[in-house]
Structures are given as C-alpha cells and as structure tokens.
C-alpha cells in the first residue's frame, strides 16, 4: 500500500500519478491549521510500503519530518523508483542521482513537473492531534499589485543583459501587454535592480507558467531550476552560445533592447 499525501494543487495530482505506478494508493490529507510535525507523526503511523508526496515546499517538509520520526532515509524529488533504486533530481534538475534507498517504508517526494497528473480520486482526511509543535497561527495576505510570479500564466524575465533598473521598462511593457508577471535572474537582484521577490531560480521563485520569456538571461543552472516549471521557454539573447538556449523551446538571437520593444509593437499591431 502506498500512502500519498495530497494538497489541493496540481503537483499532488502528479504525485498520485507517480504513486499509482508503484502500487495501490491511499490518498490522504489533513484538516485544520498546518502543523508539519504533528501531521508527519500521523503519516508515519500509517501502515505503508511507501509514503509519497509532491516535491512541493509542504511535501518535502512533511516527508523530512516522517523520515526523522521513523529514522529512515527520505529521497526528495524523485522521478523513478525501481525496487530499492531511486532516481532523483539534484542541482536544481541539471543532474540526476541514482541511489539505493535502503529501509522501509520508502519515503519520497516526486519532482515537480516530471510526471503526468492523475485523477486523485477519494481523499481520506487523517486525524493529527496538536502536539504543541509549531503550526500556522495566521495567514497574512499580501496585497501585491501585479500578477504573482508563482501562478502567472506568462512570465517575462530580464537578466544581466537588461543592463540597468531603467532597462526593465521594456520588460514591464511587454509583461503588461501579455498580462504577465515580471521576473529576473539572481544577478539582477544582487545589483539591486529588482527586489528578491521577482527572482526566478533555485533560490527564488519556481514558476509554473505556460510561457517563460527570458530576456538577456544567460541561463545559469540555478536560474533554469526555477524556470523549467514553465511549459515553454522563449529565450532572447545576443549570444548564440548562451546556455539558456539549451533549455529553450524558442530562441531569438538578438539584442533584447531591440527585440523586446519590437515584440510589444507587433502585439499592439496585431491587436489593432
């Protein structure tokens, strides 16, 4: 029996899809305020061959707690489990690791956007008594103006090639036309051109857009790690050798300072 923790997100559907290929699945969840240690205790108490969750912030956190409670190894962001051999994602997805996952039950989370989603079906709500461990006391909504980076359907992002804080005007213009969120690479936040909240990457926001437009971004692995949740990547860069092109579906080789305004103009023209 595979116990799969589910949340109300798309990643959970992917995790269930993965779990079904391992065996019979019991989809479980919890009610009430999120209390990771207490929830994990309840998960750990289930009789299971494997305990699985999505490789989301919550999924990884819960399984780490389960691993600690049971003193068993936990493989985060797996893409395959074959007997005792797990294949998991490392270095933000630019490397895979094959490893023996000793012990039982098998504890793993499923790397986001690597598995097809499945119908979750019935979900059992488990009971997790408050054990006094830290839990969510309140949720503060942030009244940010624009579209949230994590949930945006389109993200237009700028990198070192944008050149300055003012240079982002053309990025914002295009994003405005597409109803997109504005993102950036790490070098841009370090330079103080944009706030960290706009950063796409392994240590920033991991996006899940339909289209990611990367302007003047060379494509360090740490950046790709945040961008590859996007279904399609369009990269604009002067350097045909830029690593971003290796991850891109569409490439425009040219200066973003010319290409981006041209796209905006074309969009306006097409819309009349």
């Amino acid at each position: 029996m595979i116990v799969c923790f589910v949340d109300d997100d798309e990643l959970s559907a992917q995790a269930v899809g993965f779990a079904r290929r391992l065996g019979d699945v019991r989809a479980v969840t919890f009610a009430g305020a999120y209390q990771p240690a207490a929830w994990a205790k309840a998960l750990a108490a289930q009789d299971a061959d494997a305990i699985v969750a999505a490789g989301s912030d919550r999924g990884n956190e819960l399984l780490a707690h389960v691993g600690a409670v049971l003193d068993q190894p936990f493989a985060a962001n797996a893409i395959a489990l074959d007997g005792d051999t797990v294949t998991r994602v490392r270095w933000g997805g630019s490397l895979l690791e094959e490893a023996w996952l000793h012990g039982a039950p098998k504890l793993l989370t499923v790397a986001p956007h690597t598995q097809p989603a499945a119908e979750i079906g019935d979900v059992e709500t488990l009971d997790a008594p408050d054990d006094g461990s830290p839990k969510v006391l309140e949720r503060v909504e942030e009244s940010s103006g624009g579209v949230s980076l994590r949930d945006a359907k389109v993200v237009v992002s700028g990198g070192r090639g944008v050149g300055s804080a003012e240079g982002f005007e053309i990025i914002e213009e295009l994003a405005g036309l597409l109803g997109a969120a504005v993102g950036c690479s790490r070098v841009v936040t370090s330079a103080g051109w944009r706030p960290h909240a706009d950063q796409v990457g392994q240590t920033g926001t991991k996006i899940s857009a339909d289209l990611y437009v990367a302007c003047g971004i060379s494509g360090a692995t740490q950046h790709i790690a945040g961008a590859k949740g996007a279904k399609k990547i369009l990269a604009i860069n002067t350097d045909p050798e830029a690593p971003i092109f290796a991850s891109a579906d569409y490439a425009v080789i040219g200066d973003l300072h010319e290409v981006v305004p041209a796209i905006s103009a074309e969009l306006r023209k097409v819309r009349g």
């Binding site: 070192r160 300055s164 804080a165 003012e166 070098v187 370090s190 330079a191 103080g192 051109w193 060379s218 360090a220 002067t238 350097d239 050798e241 300072h257």
Partner: protein
C-alpha cells in the same frame, strides 16, 4: 615685516608637519626624470601653455616673479638705509617683466570677468580677485619705487609683499610654495600603476585607503596644498561633462578643506559627497591636464578603497561583478571552462601546465573571451598572429580576471588575490612576453603585476601587429575607407600607446582625427569599473559617439573591448551611421 614673517613661518611649520605626518608615498628615485619634469612643467609651464592665452597669462606672472625676486632684497637694503646701485640692465629687465606681470594680471581679469569659463564654477572667485590684486600691487609698488625712486615706495613694496606672504599659506596661492614639490613627487613611469596596499603587515600598520585626512599619503597632502582651483581638470572630466556630480577640482578642494581644519570626520560625506567618488571613470584626463601634477585618481581610488573595503558601501549594482571576479575569476560570472571556446575553431594552442612557453602569451582578457562583440577582436588578433607565423598560445581556463575592475572599484584585496593567482600561473609557465588585447589587462600586466612578482615584456596587440606589418610579415591593403580612431584612456593616456594603432590605420584606410584625441582623448565611459555601474544623467559614450560622428568617418576604430561595447551601444543610441570595429578586425579584413 617680522609679524608677517612670523605668521608665514608658523603656518609653514603647521603645513610641513601635515606633510611629514602623512603616510609615506611610494615614489622611487628617477632623479633625472624629476629634473626634466621640473624643467618642463614648472619652469617651462608646459601644461599651462597647452591653452595659449591663459597659459601665457600665467607664464608672464610666473616668469615675472622669478625675475623680480631679487627686487625684494634690493628694496630691503634700500629701506635699511644701505644703498646698492641696481645695475641698469636688471632695472630695465625687471621693469619689462613687471609690465608683463601686469599684462598677465589684466588678461586674468579679462578671463575672469568677460570670458568666464565654466572651469571656475565652484572656485573661490573673490579670493582669486584678491590674489590678482596683490600681485598687481606688488609690481605697481615696484614700478613706482623704480620710477619715482622714493624710499616710501620701497616700504610700500615690502609691506605689500609681507602681507601677501602672510596671507599666502592660508590661501589657494599656496601653490607657489608647493607646486614644484608636487611636480617633483609625481609619477615618473608606470603612470597607470596604482600604489598597492599591504595586507601582510601588523594591524596598526594596516591601511585601507583613505577614510579621514589622517590616512592621506604625503603626495595626497601636497596635492591638496597645490590646487589653485584653476578648473582645468573639471573641464576635461568626462563625468563632469555629462552632468555628474564629480568635479576633480571640487574633490581636491574638499580634501584640502578637511585637512586645513584637521577634521577627524570621514572625508566622504563631509568634504566630498559620496556620489563624486563613484562617478569617476579613472580615465586620468584630470591628472594629465593638471598644471601642478595633482593625481586626482589616487585620491578617488583611496577614498573608494575605504568605503568599499571598510564600510562595504558602494553602488550595489557592482556587487555581482566583485563577487564574480573573486569566485568565478571573471566579472561576468561565466564558467571558466568556456573561456577558450572562441579559440577552439581557430586551433589556438591552449597552454597546459608543464608545456614549454610560447614566444608570446596571448592574454585574451575576460571581455574578449565572453562578450559577443568583443570576441571578434580576439578572433582577428589570433588569425593575424597565425598568419604572421607568431609562436603564441593562450592560458584558456587558467587565465583569470587581472583584477583591474575590482582594483579601480576600490577592492584592493580581491585585486591582489587575482594578481597573485595570475602571476603564479604566468611564472609557472615561464612566460616572458605577453601580448594583451584589453588595455586594462595590458596596464595591469605591464605596470602593476611587477609589485606582485610578475615582470613581463607586455605589448598591446596594436603594438605587436604594427611590428609585424613593419617587418613585412603582414601586408595589409588600404581600402577600408575613412576611419576615425578612438584612443582608449588606458592606452593613449596611461601608457603612451598612440602611434601604433594610427600606423596600422594609415595603411588600411584614411584616418580622420576627432577633436579630442591622443593624450586628450575622451573616455568611452567604461573605465574605473563603470562597465558594471549604472550611469546617471546623460551618457559618456553617447557624447563620444557624437564627436566621432562629426568627423564623417565610416568606421569608428577602437583598440579596447570595453570601448567596443560602449561605443557600439552609443552608435545604436545616437543612430549614427558608423561601424565600430577593433583595429585588429579592420587589419584582418584588409588582408582577406
């Protein structure tokens, strides 16, 4: 007279103590060069005479006072009752020079009241008039004494001189005492070299640049004493010309003001606004033009050093560059493994540890290794060297940033780590001759690595290519049309490389000069780590491209990867019909 002399002496002791208490400046021997500098710059008024009218104005007054000096003694003897007959020839000579001084003063007044050049903005104008008035009084009393021949005028002459003497060390006219000293102390060779800081000394000897006046070097103190507020530096400063806050003159005045009041407050934020020190592109135009050999760039770098290294305060947009120079060994943060990617197709030899040294090590530089536009120059240079049969190789992934942008930004620590690493690699490979593409690398390798145990014969690629053409190993044909050449600051001004690129361009096209060229070149805007900083206000590169476009040339030739990028951006911005290309690229094309 005694009172005046006393005031002067007291002040002189105070000022001398300030100099002696300052940190030692590392200025070695070179007596012959220093004597030549004194002769040309002080006696010959060479720098001043670059601008004819104000130059002659000053020269008349200066030469006049030298000739007139003995009149003080003669007047004193006269007053004391003794009588020495002034020889007639000297009387005539001194009268002639006295009149020349008056002509000088009159010219100065015309300049100040009618011409009113912008360079005086920020200078103490009233003080200027007072000094001119005193100069006039000195010679008028002299003339009256000579012509009317009364002891009263000898007295008047002496009293005027006495008052002037007492006033002098409290004013910007102090330069008459310190300018010659400052010229003597100025850099004689390796002018592009910054003085290294030492981090391997006991804590109490550590110096992280300049925070307060107590950190200044002796040269910097004498610099501050010597400024006459003439504003020539302000006139040629590219930052000032494009509306930035920086005026090298106001900066030196700010340091001087802090010095005179013995302020223990940090100079930056008090005497000198923070913005000023970060506006500088270290082009050295101010240093080149200064008639009293003030070295403004040293002040700026020293102030930056303290802000950056001690306070971690600097324009945030430069932080990725600093971190990348340190961690990735190049300011773009690109993987070093891709450094030699451009060279693979050309079959350029990459030196492996233990390989025999080539005749020339080709130091490519980060820009030409990683930047698309700058790469072309490296490719052209490599092709030309191959064609001419030069034995050369590159270091590939083991070539690291020379540290120049970190150093000019003020991070001496990161620079020295980079320098030590590169020197170790170069020495290990037995390199003796280097050809460098980037003038910034060139300057660092040639002028600065000597301080870290790396002594090489370093050529810029235009120098080596020019040699190869002279030797007939490359035979270019001339059909490249009209070309104007933009001198890179770090070649033309800091390192006197001006002829070689022009020699090459003479063969391959028709060169036309811009208004500001050679030693008087105008920066592209990238120096002093500005390649990685944002520019406020109007852009230096745009200003330079406009000037280039005025020549009507079809091609804007450059010899520096940073100039390439900046001016190419400028051409796009202005919409000028010009092609920006490295001299090496133009030469390679002329051979095809």
């Amino acid at each position: 007279m005694l009172v005046c002399g006393g005031i002067f002496a007291r002040r002189a002791v105070f000022l001398t103590r300030l100099v002696l208490d300052a940190k030692p400046s590392d200025r070695p021997g070179d007596v012959a060069e220093r004597v030549i500098a004194e002769t040309e710059i002080v006696l010959g008024q060479k720098k001043l005479l670059q601008r004819l009218v104000p130059g002659l104005m000053h020269a008349f007054i200066f030469w006049g006072f030298i000739v007139l000096f003995p009149t003080i003694v003669l007047a004193a003897i006269d007053v004391a009752g003794g009588h020495v007959a002034t020889p007639e020839w000297y009387r005539v000579l001194s009268d002639v020079f006295a009149v020349l001084v008056l002509v000088g003063v009159a010219t100065a007044l015309v300049i100040r009241t009618i011409v009113r050049p912008a360079r005086f903005v920020g200078s103490h104008v009233a003080e200027g008039y007072f000094i001119l008035g005193m100069i006039a009084l000195v010679v008028i009393t002299l003339l009256l004494w000579h012509e009317v021949d009364g002891i009263g005028f000898a007295w008047a002459h002496l009293i005027v001189i006495g008052v002037f003497l007492a006033y002098l060390p409290y004013s910007k006219h102090l330069h008459i005492a310190t300018a010659a000293v400052n010229v003597w102390m100025a850099r004689t060779r390796r002018r592009g070299r910054l003085e290294p800081l030492r981090f391997d000394v006991p804590d109490d000897e550590l110096r992280f640049g300049v925070a307060t006046i107590f950190d200044l070097t002796r040269k910097e103190v004498v610099d501050a004493f010597s400024c006459t507020e003439c504003g020539r530096c302000q006139d040629v400063c590219p930052a000032h010309a494009t509306g930035k806050l920086l005026s090298p003159k106001l900066l030196i005045m700010g340091v001087r003001d802090q010095l005179f009041v013995q302020s223990a407050e940090p100079i930056v934020g008090n005497g000198v606004p923070e913005e000023m020190i970060w506006d500088c592109v270290t082009c050295g135009a101010c240093v080149e033009v200064c008639p009293v050999s003030i070295e403004h760039v040293d002040h700026i770098v020293d102030l930056r050093r303290s802000r950056l290294m001690v306070d971690s305060a600097f324009p945030a947009e430069a932080e990725p560059m600093l971190r990348d120079v340190e961690r990735a060994s190049n300011p773009w943060g690109k993987p070093q493994t891709e450094r030699a990617a451009w060279a693979a197709e050309l079959g350029v030899r990459v030196l492996e540890p233990g390989d025999p040294a080539p005749e020339y090590l080709y130091w490519v530089g980060c820009a030409a290794s990683f930047d698309e536009r700058a790469k072309k120059s490296a490719e052209s240079t490599a092709k030309l060297l191959q064609k001419a049969g030069v034995d050369f190789a590159i270091l590939g992934p083991r070539e690291g940033c020379t540290g120049d942008p970190a150093r000019r930004m003020g991070n001496e620590y990161v620079f020295q780590a980079a320098a030590e690493q590169n020197v170790a690699t170069l020495n290990e490979q037995g390199v003796t001759k280097i050809v460098a593409s980037c003038p910034h690398c060139f300057n660092t390798l040639a002028n600065e690595y000597g301080d870290f145990g790396g002594s090489y014969e370093v050529l810029h690629h235009t120098e080596l290519l020019s040699q190869l053409v002279d030797e007939g190993r490359l035979t270019p044909a001339g059909d490249a049309g009209s070309i104007t050449y933009h001198d890179s600051c770090y070649l033309a001004r800091h390192n006197d490389v001006r002829m070689e690129p022009r020699k090459l361009l003479n063969v391959i096209g028709q060169p036309v000069e811009m208004k500001r060229s050679g030693k008087n070149t105008f920066c592209c805007g990238a120096g002093g780590a500005h390649m990685w900083m944002e520019e406020r206000g109007s852009q230096i590169n745009v200003e330079r491209v406009r000037e280039a476009a005025e020549t009507g040339a079809e091609t804007l030739a450059v010899a520096c990867p940073f100039c390439t990028v900046m001016l190419d951006d400028g051409v796009r911005e202005v919409g000028a019909e010009m092609r920006v290309a490295d001299v090496a690229t133009l030469l390679a094309e002329s051979l095809e």
